[in-house]
């Protein structure tokens, strides 16, 4: 257990990881991320890539919902904007994929700004419903803007290329996605040590008070929308390179609910929460697949139960966490940490 902080420089005071064990564990974790692809088979690599994409998007939603208190049910639609931008640039302009992904983020951020406009007048649930409306309008655009989106059949992408090699293997994609996601998570962690991030938190806690304190609601609410959609757009861009087919049906409304559920289960308003939530919610359905596999000898009909059981578990997780653990998985982690910090001295 740590007693007292003796810091000799501002640099030490500003560090994200302040203690040696923290740095050690983080280093091990980073090392684990680097060697994991060499130990996993294709299936688990696929899931690892999907997790990276979902973590990026959930972190974005967490900035908006967890830190700024603006509920959005349009995250999947923003991802779609990013994915379509990437698809269009890849096919029409043939620009390098990293540029495309960033551009996807920027276009999504611009759309996010537009969608954020109602947040100045309505809030809470009304805003959530306004974002539903926005995603339905975006869906309509994707279906009908034939020249750019190719309508219902969507865009089929060529793979991203890096120095002439097409990135098609999940291992290659892993080494693209995981660093991008790590960078974005790091960015989010740092955001809340700046004036902008603190303004978001002030708005979440009480927007009228924040305004009285001289925080421009117009500016910061829209900034939050833009940043969050940027994250979604980048995640959507990665998604586009991952599945290489983008159709209007690729990003359904339930995907937005999925992200909201992920940050609730993980813990709203913490960086760790969004990560844990996205990992957990992505892997649970797949783990249920194994559960069903093991049940099949006992219950011959088990396979037919998988999808309903997944749906039920998805709902139960949301309800259960909200009622019994409103601060999510991140809180459980914190509790475990505290327990080990105090270990022999407190039960």
């Amino acid at each position: 257990m740590k007693i007292g902080t003796a810091k000799h420089s501002y640099q030490a005071d500003e560090a994200l990881l302040t203690t040696r064990p923290q740095r050690l564990w983080m280093g091990l974790f980073a090392l684990g991320l680097c060697i994991a692809p060499f130990m996993l088979d294709n299936y688990w690599l696929y899931l690892a890539c999907l997790v990276a994409i979902n973590v990026a998007s959930a972190t974005g939603l967490n900035i908006l919902t967890g830190y700024t208190g603006l509920v959005s049910l349009g995250q999947a639609a923003f991802m779609a904007v990013g994915a379509y931008t990437v698809g269009w640039m890849q096919l029409r302009l043939g620009t390098p994929f990293l540029l495309n992904i960033v551009a996807g983020g920027i276009v999504a951020a611009a759309v996010g700004l537009l969608v954020g406009l109602p947040s100045l007048r309505v809030k809470g649930l009304y805003l959530a419903i306004a974002t539903i409306a926005a995603s339905i309008i975006l869906h309509f655009v994707f279906v009908n803007w034939q020249s750019v989106t190719n309508g219902n059949s969507g865009l089929t992408l060529t793979p991203a290329t890096f120095l002439g090699t097409p990135l098609t293997d999940y291992k290659q994609l892993y080494f693209v996605f995981v660093p991008i996601t790590a960078l974005m998570v790091l960015g989010a962690a740092n955001l809340f040590r700046t004036r902008v991030g603190r303004a978001f938190i002030a708005i979440r806690d009480r927007d009228i008070s924040a305004e009285v304190l001289g925080i421009s609601l117009l500016r910061y609410k829209l900034t939050s929308f833009a940043i969050s959609s940027f994250y979604a757009g980048v995640a959507g861009g990665m998604w586009a390179y991952f599945f290489r087919v983008v159709t209007p049906e690729s990003f359904p409304f339930v995907y937005s609910i999925f992200f909201l559920a992920a940050i609730i289960v993980g813990g709203m308003g913490t960086i760790l929460g969004a990560i844990l939530g996205a990992v957990f919610m992505t892997l649970v359905p797949e783990l249920l697949r194994f559960g069903i596999d093991w049940l099949t000898p006992v219950l011959p009909n088990a396979a037919a139960m998988l999808s309903p059981v997944r749906t039920i578990v998805f709902g139960l997780l949301i309800v259960g966490f909200l009622i019994f653990e409103p601060k999510g998985l991140a809180e459980i982690v914190q509790r475990t940490r505290r327990y080990f910090h105090l270990w022999p001295f407190k039960k």
Partner: protein, 293 residues
């Protein structure tokens, strides 16, 4: 056939499906009025109502006059269980959290229905008859006409109940000021339960109507989203708003679907929703909330 008659028929059809929307919106309004909870699971309650009717009418072979009340009662019972089990523990939490609980609840209900009845779309036993109805020369689908009549009667009954019945007055009192209602001796938790029972029962009844028109499937809950637009446009806590909003949205959907094309239906209503939110954030008939520090 003249264009005018065609327009008239489309308008009638729009009013008919609007009445169904009103009825579903009523379920939202009842629950929101009493408990300040937006119950996004109304769509799934609706679906459950359709399936309960299916179970009673097709499974047990009961006649429609017995199966319909049983389905509505079943919906009410589920409402009561949900209120006691999931919503009561969430009292005092942020509205967003409770809203998310109802989303989770919706997912659970869909999963349960899929587990019990499977995912195949099914047709409900016919109980409405088949003779077409003509108003003058204009054709109205019989089922839509019946749905319109039922919705009109139910909404009228609710308006009367809110005005004169003790329970209805208690509900309005709770909606206006919970603390004051408590101090007048109103059983506020009882009112909460009552609102959920009636709300979910209404939704189940709407589900029977909807299911007999378009068949039932676990995905039919999306109808709730259209009804959500209705309550946002009409005002979350206004019965009159649900009525007017439902008819307006029904008409606009019908006109948009006919003159622009079916793909414009949803986008028109949701576009309208955005406009309505910008002009009147609390709906046409909703109560404006004033925030103080």
């Amino acid at each position: 056939m003249s264009d005018l008659l065609f327009f008239f028929e489309v308008t009638l059809a729009g009013l008919g499906s609007g009445a169904l929307l009103s009825l579903t919106a009523l379920a939202f309004v009842l629950i929101y009025k009493a408990t300040r909870v937006i119950n996004l699971a109304v769509g799934e309650m609706l679906m459950l109502g359709g399936y309960l009717f299916f179970a009673f009418a097709a499974g047990f072979g009961l006649p429609a006059w017995a199966a319909i009340p049983l389905a509505i009662a079943g919906g009410g019972l589920v409402g009561a269980v949900v209120e006691r089990g999931l919503i009561r523990p969430m009292l005092g939490e942020s509205p967003i959290a409770v809203f998310m609980v109802t989303i989770g609840l919706g997912s659970i209900l869909v999963g349960l229905v899929e587990l019990i009845w499977g995912t195949d779309p099914r047709a409900l036993p016919a109980f409405m008859g088949n003779t077409p109805i003509f108003i003058g020369e204009a054709y109205v689908s019989r089922k839509i006409a019946i749905a319109f009549a039922v919705a009109a009667v139910v909404i009228a009954v609710f308006l009367v109940l809110f005005r004169y019945w003790r329970g209805g007055v208690a509900l309005r009192a709770t909606a206006t000021d919970q603390a004051a209602a408590y101090s007048c001796g109103i059983n506020v938790p009882g009112v909460f339960s009552l609102a959920w029972v009636i709300g979910c029962g209404t939704a189940a009844g709407a589900g029977v109507l909807l299911g007999s028109i378009g068949g039932i499937s676990p995905a039919m809950g999306v109808f709730g989203l259209s009804a959500l637009v209705v309550v946002i446009v009409g005002g979350l806590d206004s019965v009159a708003g649900a009525l007017v909003g439902g008819l307006v949205i029904g008409l606009i959907e019908a006109w948009a679907g006919t003159y622009l094309g079916g793909e414009f239906k949803l986008v028109t209503t949701f576009g309208l929703l955005l406009v309505a939110l910008m002009i009147r954030p609390y709906g046409l008939f909703g109560t404006t909330e004033i925030e103080r520090l």
